[in-house]
Amino acid sequence: MINFFKQQWWKWLCAGLLLYILLAGMLIPLGPGITSIQPFVFKTDSVYTFSIKGYNTNFSANNNTQVWFKAGQEYFCSVSSKVISTDEVQVSFGIPSAVASRISDNNYDVVLNNDDDGTISLREALTLLKGSAIEIDSTLEAKVTGCKVEVNRNQANVFAFPFREILYESIRNTFYHVPMWFAMLMMVILSSVFSVMHLKSGNVVHDTIASAFVIVALFFGAMGLFTGMMWATFTWGDPWPNDPKLNGAAVGVMIYVAYIILRGSITDEIKRGRVSAVYNIFAVVIFILFIFIIPRLPDTDSLHPGQSGNPAFSKYDLDSILRMVFYPAVIAWILLGLWFTSIIVRIKNIEIKNL
């Protein structure tokens, strides 16, 4: 590790990867999706005209654009549909009361398919209100039920990040918020390794490196908390929702703040190295416990993906195009952390020499 610090190539790799994740993360477009539908409430027995707005979509009269409505497990077809522009389509649809009464679900999903965008949907887009509308269309049942759901293509025909409701474009934060915690974890693990080495060898260099790693880990922890608060404000509606992972991360950062304070309070160099090394080994265990174990306990319910018993980053959370930027992002931020650490270690070494 000490030899690795002295080398130069990985700094260039870090710079190149950071440039790559910045460019790829911001320039790759978002996939097609439905953002809204107007109106979003309706009553039985009458035909309504709904305006569906898409984002990055290619609605067209030539590419077989079809719209269905889904409640429970049942699909209903639209009475008619008209493409207004590439991102707007007007659909006529209604639900007869005889059909509505046998479906327990009052929320209807909108499902749209065409040959360019694949299948896109908006979950619980429409709400069926109680009571019938004034104009009653008795032929409605034959129009909307019993239609065939046939599609040519399910996946969009574009190179793009997946479109997720609520997240939208902020899914790009996967490359700027999530790797902060990966980098912090890497820094605290490396720090504890150097603490073990310090306990074995008594070499003050190892203690210096361990403490430098903790400073950089705190940097990443602070960045992770602040960027997370930013993201949470506009997706979960609160900068600090009561989420076990969030509170765990905050406690984890506090543990390492305590490490810095502990080091500051001991003046004797040998004692300081020993005590902080032992504390550091306990700290890394507790940190992993707070970040990974407690949010996964069965009775906790976290907003973060892959919690409560599920491993994070399953195939449902990250698709292959996100991965193409996400894994380089993790490496890039870890290398940046190593770079920061090497600078702090060099300053600390000069400080020790000057004493």
């Binding site: 939208y168 960027t227 300053i347 000057n354």
Partner: protein
Amino acid sequence: MRKYFSLLLMLVLCNGLFAQNVDAFMRSNQKIYVVTGVLAIILVGIIAFLFFVEKRLKELERK
């Protein structure tokens, strides 16, 4: 110190005054400005780190 405090106070006041507009702005264009905000936070963090390093280097230079 006073400089930092006044800057912080200004930010808090701005946030209070324009909270509604800021909220609408951040949610516009499919929330792309949230990513901008996150990148700005990281940039501020890296610059803060540079100041931290510089402070320690200054002390060494004085010796």
